[in-house]
Amino acid sequence: MKSKRYAMAIDLNRCIGCDSCAVACKMENEVPVGVWRIWVNRREAGTYPRVRRAVLPVLCNHCENPVCVYVCPVKATYRRKEDGVVVVDPHLCIGCKICMVACPYQMRYLDPVKRVAQKCDFCLHRVQAGLNPACVDACPTGAMYFGDLMDPASPVARLLSERPSQSLKVSYGTNPQVFYVGKDISVLPFEKGGSIYDKREKG
């Protein structure tokens, strides 16, 4: 069977920062209080009256070159050969937290209940049943596209063939499989200024 390569694309022109994706993910995956698998990074830039606000939904990038997989001492996190999804086996994880430190996107968290590292798995249980990830279906503006990059007819493959795209922190050589279209993320104000990440994390 031909292998798949699941990927996601997010149209930043359509994203309104409503957090539907984050809430749907929480409900679908029973993500505990205080931690998130996908969240919307918001940032304001400029001074009055020339102020703008940018939003950037972020989740595990399911990298082709995943450092979290390389550093895990017990292969509790691995990239599935059949579809390229990076997953965590909670029964193998020893909770050393090195994957959380090594991820350049800080998209992993320590599950406060199971005490193991966790992150987005593209809702693999839904995808294997022929559905989209919960965040994609919950997005009210249709800003999120998901599918198999090896299938030219999939929504994500079609979008990426038609429009220029970017990924986050490409200088790390991780080759992320989450793409952004619609806005130039390199000029968005996400590297400096206030972050909601810590506020979110502390719930």
Binding site: V71, P73, I94, V101, Q106, K169, Y197
Partner: protein, 398 residues
């Protein structure tokens, strides 16, 4: 009656009180560990932004010290500098127990430590530096135990070869520990070949200081004199070795600071600024630089008291305090700049984390205190008098 019984056992009441105190501290750490593993209570100060906290730095502190002790004791029976043979048994024994104390700290820090043993064998990941570190430290521990047995049985060649392999595995294990941090590209403050090399160098400082402290403290606690050979070695280790190793570490640190600031390299610059004028500044300047490096360095080099046992002891205590804070700073500073910006992340160790740190020290001191009584740790030098001979008055120590 109790006193007579204790005298017959050869232990004093003070000694038993000391053991009781250490057991109590160890038990407190044990209670923390049990609550941590049996409940969902968040007892640690580490967050998802700063996942590695003071227990990791305590682990690093102890295994660095263990490696340094292995290096320093190898000078004698492995590399032929015979004056170091006096401290060989004590050094190797301390090397083993500091390693165990480090394992205690990282065992409690790890969320599911009971999976460690089997999983390292069942599903090893050979691309993971942690796996290699565990592999090398296991080998290292085995060689240390064989080396200690060789020393106790006066089997010189066994001790020498086990010591040599212990030395080599210590270098491998310890540089791999540095590589765990050095290979993380997402944390530019750590990334690069600096840490594996720096860890080896700072191990020499740590091991020398720890051996000086424990040797002098043992003689002081037992209220007995120190042989002239041992006194001479302590002063030599402090005035010459410790000062020399400190000089190298200061040299390395200067270039670490310069390369982290020059040209504002992303990540490295922010980390270094956090140290020199950010949230870590007080710890960095007061403990790491002043107490840990500059004061003992200049004291050992220029002050006449550096030729005395109390002088060397104070310098070694300062160095070890500075090194403990230095490990803490190193671990936290690497993570203090979050991936998404937003200023410095905060990390404050919780009381329970401090209890586990204290119980790691207690474990080390407890095993050592018992070991001193039941094991022949006083070494002999093949070229000089034994530790028991040529004793001077205990008052010479004070």
């Amino acid at each position: 009656m109790v006193k007579a019984y204790l005298d017959r056992l050869g232990v004093s009441r003070d000694y038993l009180l000391w053991l009781g105190f250490l057991c109590a501290v160890l038990a407190a750490g044990g209670v923390v560990a049990v609550i941590r593993f049996l409940s969902h209570e968040e007892l640690m100060g580490a967050t998802n932004t700063v996942p590695l906290g003071i227990l990791i730095s305590t682990y690093v502190f102890f295994v660095v010290t263990s490696t340094g002790l292995c290096f320093v004791t190898s000078f004698g029976h492995v590399f032929g500098f015979h004056r170091f043979e006096i401290v060989a048994r004590r050094g190797v024994f301390l090397s083993i127990i500091t390693l165990l104390a480090g394992f205690l700290a990282i065992g409690v820090e790890t969320e599911r430590p009971w999976r460690l043993g089997s999983l390292f064998l069942v599903s090893p990941n050979f691309t993971a530096p942690i796996w290699w570190m565990a592999f090398f430290y296991t080998l290292y521990l085995i060689f240390l135990v064989i080396e200690l047995c060789g020393l106790f049985l006066n089997r010189a060649s066994l001790a020498r070869y086990a010591g040599l392999f212990g030395f080599l595995t210590a270098v491998a294990a310890h540089s791999t520990l540095g590589a765990i941090f050095g290979l993380i590209k997402a944390k530019p403050f750590w990334e690069g070949p600096y840490l594996p090399i720096y860890f080896i160098l700072s191990a020499l400082v740590s091991g020398t200081a720890f051996l000086i402290i424990m040797t002098i403290a043992t003689h002081w606690a037992e209220r007995r004199g120190m042989s002239l050979d041992t006194q001479d070695l302590m002063v030599h280790m402090g005035k010459r070795l410790l000062a020399f190793f400190l000089g190298i570490v200061i040299f390395f640190w200067i270039w670490k600071v310069v390369t982290s600031l020059y040209g504002h390299p992303p990540g490295k610059y922010e980390g270094m600024m956090a140290l020199i004028c950010g949230p870590m500044a007080v710890k960095f300047w007061v403990f790491e630089v002043a107490v840990g490096l500059l004061l003992p360095f200049f004291f050992l080099l220029f002050h006449p008291a550096a030729r005395t046992i109390p002088g060397v002891l104070i310098a070694a205590l300062c160095v070890l305090t500075g090194l403990f804070v230095s490990r803490w700073d190193l671990v936290v500073t690497g993570q203090i700049f979050p991936a998404w910006g937003g200023g410095y992340a905060s990390y404050t160790p919780s009381l329970t984390e401090w209890l586990v740190v204290a119980s790691s020290f207690a474990l080390c001191l407890l095993i050592y205190s018992v070991g001193v009584k039941v094991l022949p740790l006083e070494g002999t030098s093949s070229h000089g008098a034994s530790g028991a001979n040529e004793t001077t008055e205990a008052s010479a120590l004070s």
